[in-house]
């Protein structure tokens, strides 16, 4: 496939020669422009381009997206290396910083395209534009070889970092780099036909694996600038509350404490686009231990905020009355559900409650910030680097080109780092202290001041005709929207809570989806797979309830519902269409793999569930037993159709990981509120499942597909929890309608 490079694509492709004979394809940023040419070969940490070929044949490929465990550095580099025909054994992958220059009017000009970890979009974006980068590098090398050999470029082929003539003569990319760097960037590139892929579709281990197992990998929390002060903040435990009284005498007396800085009340203007920063008292000290002890020595009283944080029980109590009143938003209304209800032979009704949960990423929020009069540097775990950049710019007034946002590997993310409150705090402190600051949140801080996945209630009623076909589907969803306080008008707050085109929309003639706004001061945010992570539970458990009520096979009911393969319009992320045939396909694969039709041992049960998330089609099948109050997950299968898979080893890690994350969260995790404060302070009160509590393996079935890659990191989560609840019902006839499952199961048994 040949494609012309438009201006947008061409800007990735500036060619740069260096004194060391390296060829650089990509965009030279300020760091590179500031660097003498002769140093370029060595200054790897400042490299802000996509590809650099050294004279010795080493190929450095820049990875632009934040790595949070989704394997994006590996996948991006494989995509570029594939199009280059690079020898993977000679490729080094270098993380890039946020690519930004001034546009001439003081506004940022983003130079590297997609740079975020959100919605499994990294690989699709890379597929869209990074193949060009690799293909352009290859074209330049081929052209340089053509001149050297005195033959037509079209007669040459490439393989394993070599250009090869028709009669078998070879030149290594390293020998051609200097010549190639003198050529102009190509106007057109030819992309490989997929039949010639050697790397894409093959397993690749994580490019940082060696550094991780030797302890050499530097996460943000592992980095310092010279003269850095460590900061910890005592934050107001009441959302929106303020500082009432402070005595810092004892704190100031501790050796090593340098400053105590007060953030007296929430600043509603900060950080951009997210909730106000908490009121707090920051202690800056020479080292972490001193800072922590000094914080403990603060004597503080707090005022509660105007609004109180409510726990799930308080939100659930008035819901009967709330569901009888008018919804906040009618999200979707097909046909006439009331009419379907009147004509129905029978109806099935159920209500599901999904608990508030926290992110609990193992590397808690932290940020290293150095703010000077003419430059700023930020090193932090980030998923939304441009958001972090905006925070720095707004707080410092610096020009875009003066702001350097580094993207170290992040110890988990799960959506927490789409908010940049940690960056705002660190920048404020570094500015005030006039020294570099390394802000650390303790894990207890992270539990108390998270952007939680909110509590959600689904109230579902299905109408069925005499043949037990579902004719009506009424779904009432109540939640505290994640978008409150983020600049969205009231009539758009449902957008983060409900996906109007999620199934069974389009499959049932009369379908109504209403959203009811609940209100609480508890801060909310993005959590892996967003609303899909909870909404799949209600739908997939409810389908099981319908199957049981009508004595139908749960698999057959789902296949009947999905019906003849068709493409339904899907307006949300992952659209524009949802292919019911691909969903039925993964569901059948999962059911077959677990042995759906085989007889089970006494006390064992199988549960199924499927969901469409961000363009990925996933089904789970689980086998469980419950004996003497102990739930055991014996077998787990996840089947996925994610389009073309760039790195199957990485995709399997993502699917297994998301399955286990979904199960761990569903088993026993919830955030509770008492007197307006979060109760959980650590993992002992928020018990992430250990190895012993989860299935020993998860069988992964990947559907071979040639379609554009959909990414992989989030799709494996939503259907895990409902498959578990359905399996528990099959094993025990106890129907769990609440997450987390274990406390509810113990109550019902």
């Amino acid at each position: 496939m040949s494609r012309a490079l438009d201006a947008e694509r061409r800007r990735f492709l500036k060619v740069l020669g260096t004194a060391s004979g390296a060829l650089i394809v990509g965009v030279p940023l300020r760091a590179l422009a500031d660097t003498p040419d002769e140093l370029l070969g060595q200054v790897v940490l400042q490299l802000s381009t996509y590809v650099r070929i050294e004279a010795d044949g080493t190929i450095a490929i820049g990875a632009r997206d934040p790595e949070i465990g989704q394997g994006i550095r590996t996948s991006e580099a494989r995509i570029v290396a594939e199009e280059m025909d690079a020898d993977w054994l000679r490729v080094r992958v270098l993380p890039l910083a946020l690519g930004v220059t001034d546009d001439g009017n003081g506004e940022p000009n983003w130079t590297l395209g997609h740079q975020e970890a959100r919605g499994s979009t990294g690989v699709p974006a890379a597929w869209n534009d990074l193949r060009d980068v690799g293909a352009a590098a290859r074209a330049l090398l081929v052209q340089a070889a053509a001149q050297r050999f005195g033959v037509a470029a079209s007669s040459l082929r490439t393989n394993l970092s070599q250009v090869i003539t028709a009669d078998g003569r070879k030149l290594d990319y390293g020998d051609l780099a200097a010549d190639a760097s003198l050529l102009p960037a190509p106007q057109r590139v030819v992309l490989k036909d997929s039949s010639r892929f050697r790397l894409i579709g093959q397993d690749a281990g994580d490019v940082d694996a060696r550094d991780i197992v030797t302890g050499a990998q530097r996460y943000a929390i592992d980095q310092w600038f010279a003269g850095t002060l460590v900061a910890v903040i005592a934050r107001c435990p009441y959302p929106g509350g303020s500082l009432k009284k402070l005595d810092n005498t004892q704190t100031r007396a501790i050796k090593g404490v340098e400053q105590v800085l007060v953030l007296p009340r929430p600043n509603p203007a900060l950080p951009l686009g997210t909730r106000p920063l908490a009121a707090g008292v920051a202690v800056l000290a020479a080292d972490t231990w001193t800072a922590l002890r000094a914080r403990d020595a603060l004597v503080i009283e707090w005022n509660t905020g105007k609004q109180i944080a409510l726990g799930d029980d308080a939100l659930a109590a008035p819901l009967d009355a709330r569901f009888d009143s008018a919804p906040t938003t009618m999200v979707r209304n097909d046909g006439d559900v009331d009419h379907a209800r009147r004509l129905a032979h029978r109806a099935v009704q159920a209500r599901y409650e999904i608990a508030t949960v926290a992110h609990a990423e193992l590397e808690p929020p932290n940020c290293l910030a150095r703010i000077e009069d003419d430059r700023a540097r930020i090193v932090a775990p980030l998923q939304n680097p441009r958001g972090a950049f905006d925070v720095v710019r707004r707080l410092t007034g610096l020009l875009p080109s003066q702001i350097d946002v580094q993207l170290p590997r992040s110890g988990g993310g799960f959506g927490r780092r789409l908010d940049n409150d940690h960056v705002a705090e660190a920048v404020l402190l570094a500015k005030a202290a006039r020294k570099p600051v390394k802000l650390i949140w303790t894990q207890a801080d992270a539990f108390a001041h998270d952007c939680y996945r909110p509590f959600v209630v689904h109230d579902l009623t299905a109408s069925l005709d005499r043949k037990n076909t579902i004719t009506g589907w009424r779904q009432r969803i109540a939640s505290t929207s994640r978008l409150v306080g983020r600049g969205e008008p009231a009539d758009r707050l449902w957008l983060s809570e409900v996906h109007p085109d999620d199934l069974p929309a389009g499959l049932i003639p009369n379908l109504q989806r209403e959203w009811f706004a609940l209100d609480s001061a508890l801060p909310r945010g993005n959590w892996r797979a967003g609303a899909h992570g909870v909404n799949a539970f209600a739908m997939q458990v409810f389908l099981d309830e319908i199957a049981h009520a009508t004595k139908q096979d749960p698999l057959q009911l789902r296949l009947d519902l999905l019906g003849v393969p068709q493409q339904l319009p899907y307006r949300g992320h992952g659209g524009p269409v949802l292919d019911t045939g691909r969903l039925a396909g993964v569901l059948k694969l999962a059911a077959d793999a677990i042995g759906w039709t085989k007889a089970r041992r006494d006390g064992h049960g199988i549960g199924l569930a499927f969901h469409f998330t961000y363009g990925g089609y996933v089904a789970h099948a689980l086998e469980v037993s419950v004996t003497v109050g102990k739930l055991t997950i014996h077998d787990a299968v996840v089947a996925a159709d994610l389009g073309r898979i760039v790195n199957p080893l990485g995709a399997r890690a993502a699917l297994v990981g998301a399955t286990l994350d979904g199960l761990s969260t569903a088993l026993d995790l919830s955030i509770t509120v008492k007197n307006g404060r979060i109760e959980q302070q650590g993992f002992h009160e928020y018990p992430l499942a250990t190895m012993a509590q989860l299935p020993r393996d998860v069988q992964v079935i990947l559907v071979p597909a040639q379609t554009t890659p959909a990414g992989a990191f989030e799709m494996g989560l939503p259907s895990a929890a409902p498959a578990l609840a359905n399996a528990i019902f099959a094993a025990t006839t106890v129907r769990v309608r609440k997450l987390p499952i274990l406390p509810e199961l113990m109550r019902l048994l």
Binding site: G69, G205, A209, G215, W289, A360, L362, G411, F683, P695
Partner: protein, 175 residues
């Protein structure tokens, strides 16, 4: 040009030896002269900059800071320096040999791609080393006793890596 008095080498006088807590970390000897209550976690991270030992929680529940103290599994966050005089401490940085050859566990982790975000893996490796020292051929139930937390869901790959390393290490032991 100013001339400075020449002191014969034999007459060089160093600072007086400061009292402190002597520890050996990955074969190197160090003396801690600060607060004896300092947890080993912050000594390793803030003083020695051995950041393979991770901070992950405040209640000794996550295991990201797992280290070996005199060959026994411990959490660095709950091990004050005052209790460590004379101790030999092994962190993930001390697993590979002096020539940089990886420990079989590290190689197994790479071979099984037991990584995900990677933040908990140094602690997992130390916990696995402790397990294999006690149980050279661990069963699945034995491996289940590794209580380190991972939200990414690396457990099945960690399990396979432990088994792979156990086979290699048992063979090496019989050579």
């Amino acid at each position: 040009m100013a001339r400075f008095p020449q002191i014969p080498p034999g007459h060089l006088v160093g600072e007086p030896t400061r009292p402190g807590i002597d520890v050996t970390v990955n074969g190197e000897r160090f003396r801690h002269t600060g607060d004896p209550a300092l947890p080993l976690l912050w000594y390793l991270r803030d003083v020695l900059r051995l950041t393979g030992c991770k901070y992950g929680c405040d209640d000794a529940s996550c295991g990201t800071c797992s280290v070996l103290i005199d060959g026994k599994l411990a959490r660095a966050c709950e091990s004050p320096m005052s209790q460590l005089a004379g101790s030999k401490i092994t962190t993930v940085e001390g697993l590979a040999d002096a020539n940089g050859n990886l420990h079989p566990l590290q190689q197994a982790w790479i071979d099984e791609d037991a990584i995900l975000c990677g933040y908990c893996q140094p602690g997992m490796l130390i916990a696995a080393l402790d397990l294999l020292m006690r149980k050279p051929s661990p069963t699945d139930d034995d491996i289940d006793t590794i209580g380190n937390l991972c939200r990414c869901g690396s457990y099945p790959r960690v399990r396979r890596a432990v088994k792979r390393a156990a086979i290699v290490m048992t063979k090496d032991a019989h050579k």
